[in-house]
Each structure stands twice: as C-alpha cells, then as structure tokens.
C-alpha cells in the first residue's frame, strides 16, 4: 500500500514540522505568569461583581499579587478568606472598612401616604414612569422590589411596610441596588458612617409631613447643634458632608422632630421593620 504510506509520511512530516515550529515559538514567546495569581483567584468568591472597582475576580487577583491592591478591598470575601489570601501572599490584609448599601427613605406604608393606587406592571421602573408611582412623596421608595431582584447576594428583603431591608452581613456593597433603583435611593457607605439622612424629599416646610411622617422638613435643628459644616439644609433636604463625618454625634438625631436623620449602628433602619410574611417564610 504505497499510497497509504505516502499519505502517512506527508501528513506526519508536516505535523512534525509544525510541532517543532510551535515548540520553538512557545520557547521564544514564553511569558512568565505568577502561579499565585491563579491560586489567589481560586480563593476569591468568583462573583465577578465588580464591587472592588476592578473588572472581575481574576483582575483583582492579579493586582493583589502585584501588591497594588490590598486583599481586604474584596468586599464579598469574609474576614477569614481575606486573612487566608493575606497569609498566602505574606502581605498585610489591609484596613477593611465594611461598606453596605443604605436606603435613603424610611417612608414605609405605615408612615407615608399612598395617594393613588398603582395597578400596572409590578416593577419600580415601570411604576416610576407612570405618574411617579402613586406615592404621596415623589422621591420615596416605591416598594416593588427592583433592588431585591437585582441583588445577587440575597441581601435585600422587603419589609411588611414595603421597604427593602438590607442584611448588612450579606451585603457586599457591589452597588447593583444603586443601579436598579429608579429613584436613586441607595448609596453605598462605610458601616462606620453612623449618621444618615434617610430622606430625599426636596420640599421644605411642614407641608411635607402630609405625604410622609418621617420626611425631612428642613427645619435645620440637626444642623444647629452639629459641628459647623457637617450638616447643611440649603438644598431642601438635610445633607451631611461625609468629609467631616468623624465629627458627627447622636445629638443631631435627638434634635430631629420627624426622625428623618438617623444614627445607624449596624442595621439599616433605626427601627427595624418586620419582614413581610411572604418574605420571612
């Protein structure tokens, strides 16, 4: 069978030539990658959530191994995992300031007026496009749980009064809820920032209380007692200058007649509302 042998020789020979070429090219173009990158990458949660500000867990591993980023910048990993990465790399874990998503509205159905009944698509985005959603306050939480659906980590559950409750232990500060909320009510803040204005209503004066009992009326009492410049009420709602947050005291909260400004230690609400029965089940 000379024809068969011929074919084997030709194909085999060509294969050999290319194999040698690839082997040489591989030697010539070989790039050293740190094997630790792959190992650190495996130690990360692989959520690729982007909360660290990098495109994904592999990129974070690269930067950590190079020493550009501290392991603690991964907000999804818990303290043990971060300590593990730090020990493996022999670096300092870095200062981990736990950041969580905070809702800037406390107007649940128990305190806020529902002016009109909304019967359209049950998503916040759709409700916001129709007459602002029927709530008496045009800035307030619509309570249709777009954020809870967006949360990859199951950290948001709806309360019985129609407000999302963030589980601070599960929250990884990835910021998906910030993007999901059509009213822009979520902010990601360090856990240590205790003082928070839980209202975005820009209407001034007591008239706003008609729409919501826990709204900021811009009375300015919180600002009077606080350190100069910490709280301003010029824009229609109290605004905290977070550059000066270290000066914050609980005085401001005590002075607030409506409870719009809160002092948070851990949980999201000063009064944690009960989870809705469907959610709790």
């Amino acid at each position: 069978m000379p024809l068969m042998i011929q074919a084997i020789l030709i194909l085999g020979g060509t294969g050999l030539v290319f194999a040698v070429f690839i082997a040489l090219a591989n030697m010539k173009l070989w790039v050293w990658t740190d094997p630790r990158i792959e190992i650190v990458s495996q130690m990360l949660p692989q959520a690729n959530c982007g909360a660290c500000g990098l495109p994904g867990c592999h990129a974070f591993a690269e930067q950590t191994v190079q020493g550009k980023v501290e392991p603690s910048k991964c907000t999804v990993s818990n303290a043990d995992q971060i300590a593990g990465i730090a020990a493996f790399l022999g670096v300092d874990a870095g200062e981990a300031t736990k950041r969580v998503a905070r809702l800037l509205c406390a107007g649940g159905t128990d305190v806020a007026l529902q002016r009109a009944e909304y019967r359209g698509l049950p998503t916040c985005a759709a409700a916001a496009a129709v007459a602002g959603g029927g709530k008496g306050c045009a800035w307030g939480c619509l309570g249709l749980a777009d954020c809870a659906i967006a949360c990859t980590f199951g950290a948001i559950r709806m309360s019985a009064t129609g407000l999302p409750v963030v589980d601070v232990d599960l929250c990884t500060s990835c910021g998906d809820c910030v993007e999901a909320c059509p009213k822009g009510l979520f902010v990601v803040r360090p856990m240590d920032d205790h003082l928070l204005v839980q209202c975005k209503n820009l209407v001034s004066g007591d008239g706003v209380l008609e729409a919501c009992q826990v709204a900021c009326t811009t009375c300015g009492k919180c600002a009077l007692d606080a350190e100069a410049g910490l709280i301003s009420v010029a824009t229609g709602v109290a605004v905290i200058d977070y550059d000066k947050i270290a000066l914050a005291t609980e005085r401001a909260v005590e002075r607030c007649p409506t409870g719009a400004i809160v002092w948070l230690a851990g949980a999201q609400f000063a009064r944690v509302p009960a989870l809705s029965s469907a959610e709790a089940a």
């Binding site: 759709a126 496009a129 007459a131 602002g132 993007e179 001034s204 229609g236």
Partner: protein, 445 residues
C-alpha cells in the same frame, strides 16, 4: 401605499361624541395658578420673579434658557405667593411658581408683548414666537420657534399640518378647526412664509367632516393649502405616520422629519401662533378637552395654563361616583395622574376621567405568539419579542430591535389578547436603557 393612510394601526373606540359637538367655552380664573418652569421639551425656563412680586397677565415669570427653551408667562394678574416643588403632570415634581389670582384686576392698556407679524423678518418672527412661549400644543410641547428655523443643510418643501387627532376622547383640535379655521390658516401663512415653503397640507381624519368643511370654506386663495382627508385609524396623528400618509415617504429611523423635507405642526399650535400675533399676548391659555364617562359635564374649555386639575374638574361639576382614573392626554398615550394638584401645562391636550369599569385590571396571561401586535405596530417592530426581552431585562437586545423607534403609541398593548402591558414594558425599558447608557458614559468619562 394605502391611500392617505399608513399600514397597520388599530381602531380604538373614538368616544369623541362626548365633546365633539360642544363649542369651546372659557373657563373662569381659579383662585390659584401653579406654573411649572418646565412645560416644554428642552431646557427649563429660568425663574425671573420672586415671592411677593405682582405680575400682570402675560408678564414673564421664567425666561428662555438658550435656543432650545421658551419663556413661561403669567396666565393671570396676581401675586407670586410661593416658588416650590409641585406635582407636575408627568409624574415628577417640578419647580413651580404659585400665583394668587387677582380675579378682578382692571384691564390696563399696555404695549403689545408680541409685535404684529406684518413686516417682520424671518429672524424676528422666530424670535417673537420664542418670546411668546409658543410650543407644540399636540402634547410633546416641542418649542415651535425651533421648527421655524430648521438646520440650513436641509431644505423644506412641505408644511404638514396635523389635524388628525387620532387619540380617543380628545376634540380640542377638532373644535379649533371648526371654530377658528381662519386662525389655522393664518398660522399656516406665518409658518409657510417663515420657512419659505410653497406648499402646505392639512391632514384631517375623515371622522371630522365639519372641520374639513370649515377649513375648505376659509381657505385663503393665495396660498397652496390642501386639506387632505385621512383614514380614521390610530395612530394617524403620530408625526411619522402622518408624513407617510401625506407624502408616501417614510422618515428614516432616528431622523427628524426635516430630512425628508417636511415640517409637521399641530393645528392647535398654528392657531396659537395666529393668536399670539393677533392679540399681542404670549401663550398663556390653551384649549383643553375635559371628557370621559367618569366626568359629570364634559367640555371643551379655554383654560389658563397653570390651572390645577382639581379646579378644572370642579368647574366641570366634578367627577362621577364611579370615576377611577384621571388621565392627562388620551387613554392611549396619556399619563395617569396620581395627584389632582398637578396643573394644566402647555402640552395638556385633554383631561380624561375613566370609570372603574373602564379601568378594570385584566389578568395578564403569557404570550401566545398570535402575532396581532406585529400587525398593529405602525412602525413594523416586533412587540412580542421586545416584550419577552423586556421581562428578562435584555435591554441591549431591545436596542438592537429598534426600541428607540417605538413611540409608545400603545397599539400593541391595545390588541394583545393576553393583556400584556407591552407599551409600559417598553416605556420602562427605554428609561432603563437611557440610565444604563448614562452610567456607561459617566464611567467612560
């Protein structure tokens, strides 16, 4: 091409007989007017009064901020009592000026606020129309002077006047054409001479024979104006559908009508142009159809801009016991209102009050792929597939399927046997897509 019509579309019940025979009457001033600074497409007007100021009827309270903006004028003499956030008919809150109306203010002779049209140059006409705060009165409130000054690189050959009024219930344009046909023609004259076009076509749906007759009767001999009866179909009054019906040309996706050489203007806006040059007063009132089976006394009214819905409805003897929903605009594209404190703005074509029976929520079933929405969509999109994508938030795929061309006419949702709220899905998707694009832009910058 269908003769003087477009393909697809739907035939919702017209319900126009409630008000189509009622003459336009003037509504008396309410106690208080609320004038939002944002009443038009483009930039919000710049506030130019302060609390305590006394203003005369027609005085500016907000000035135009750039070319894509128009001023806002006081609709009545009175005192500015507050400037604050107030519910806007679009569902948001807007900075608004509150006027305590001086109902018995004496009519003081004063110089014209808008010059006479005769003898003005093109630039002066554009300026005068902007200063008079004239916007498109068909709903979108696009500043009229911008249409009068089209980009130089396009030549306009036809002015198309939109008298279709395809939205159910609304009859304000119909009554304008019947009662003020000369104003429509005079507005036509102003626009034709300013744009330098020789030809104008007034498109009117065939269900308004009295309007067609009135326009024919008063047609000026020296102008080439054609009154074109159009097929009765929704959305015949959508800009791109109307152009297609009149010229047979389709406006390319994402392009303005001027790229096919036409400018479209609503009859109400033409009458407004005629009125401001006639009376010398800026645009401070508009014709509003107040209708619906949930309303005790439907009417076509001349309403001062800034009248709160509750005052307007009270003037019409209030709402019936079974009234359930108040809509600004028509039932197809209008905005449901959650607060009757929201004022009538320049773009408010009508206020419709629906009964509980009419607004009953229907159970939504899964899509059965019957294809009725495809046959209804006037711009030949695939609402069924778009709806599927919207539910799973695949907004980028929706953009590829030309979501941007959807004008939210609601024809797809109207015909859907499964009661899928397609139009609302698309509205929410458009907002989500815009937010995502903005976030992307902010991230890139």
């Amino acid at each position: 091409m269908a003769l003087f019509g477009f393909k697809h579309g739907v035939h919702p019940p017209e319900e126009k007989e409630l008000t189509s025979g009622l003459p336009i009457r003037r509504m008396p001033y309410p106690e208080e007017l609320v004038l939002p600074l944002r009443q038009h497409a483009g930039k919000e007007a710049k506030l130019c009064v302060k609390v305590g100021d006394h203003v005369e009827r027609g005085d500016p309270i907000g000035l135009a901020d750039g070319f894509m903006s128009v001023p806002i004028h006081a609709s009545a003499a009175g005192v500015v009592t507050a400037i604050d956030w107030w519910p806007h008919p679009d569902g948001t809150m807007a900075q608004s000026v509150h006027l305590k109306v001086d109902k018995y203010a004496p009519q003081v002779p004063r110089p014209r606020l808008v010059p006479k049209w005769e003898g003005l140059t093109v630039e002066q006409v554009v300026q005068a129309v902007q200063n008079a705060g004239v916007v498109g009165l068909g709903g979108a409130a696009f500043p009229t002077h911008v249409k009068l000054a089209p980009p130089k690189d396009w030549s306009v050959h036809t002015l198309i006047v939109n008298g279709a009024e395809c939205e159910p219930y609304l009859t304000s344009d119909h009554r304008t054409m019947v009662e003020y046909p000369e104003r429509v023609h005079f507005g036509c004259r102003v626009m034709m001479q300013t744009l330098g076009v020789k030809k104008a076509v007034i498109g009117v749906e065939r269900n308004k024979p009295d309007a067609i007759a009135a326009l024919e009767r008063t047609k000026p001999a020296d102008l080439d104006i054609t009154i074109l009866p159009l097929t009765v179909k929704y959305p015949q009054g959508a800009e791109k559908m109307l152009i297609q019906a009149v010229t047979g040309v389709e406006v390319p996706s994402g392009k303005l009508p001027v790229t096919v050489g036409v400018v479209v203007q609503n009859v109400g806006s033409l009458a407004a142009i005629a009125e401001v040059f006639d009376t010398g007063l800026p645009l401070i009132e508009r014709i509003v159809t107040v209708s619906g089976h949930g309303l005790k006394r439907p009417a076509n009214l001349i309403v001062p801009v800034g009248t709160m819905l509750r005052d307007l409805l009270a003037y019409c003897d209030g709402v019936a016991v079974d009234a359930a929903e108040v809509i600004i605009g028509g039932p197809m594209m209008g905005q449901a209102q959650s607060n009757l404190a929201a004022p009538v703005v320049k773009g408010t074509t009508g206020v419709v009050v629906l009964t509980a029976a009419e607004t009953r929520a229907e159970k939504v079933y899964p899509c059965i792929h019957c294809g009725r929405c495809l046959e209804a969509c006037p711009i030949f999109l695939n609402p069924s597939l778009l709806g599927d994508y919207a539910r799973v938030r695949r907004y980028d795929d929706m953009a590829d399927l030309h979501l941007a061309d959807c004008m939210l006419c609601g024809s797809c949702a109207y015909v859907c046997p499964s009661n899928i709220p397609l139009s609302q899905l698309f509205q929410a998707s458009k907002v989500a897509l815009r937010r995502a694009q903005q976030a992307q832009k902010a991230g890139a910058a």
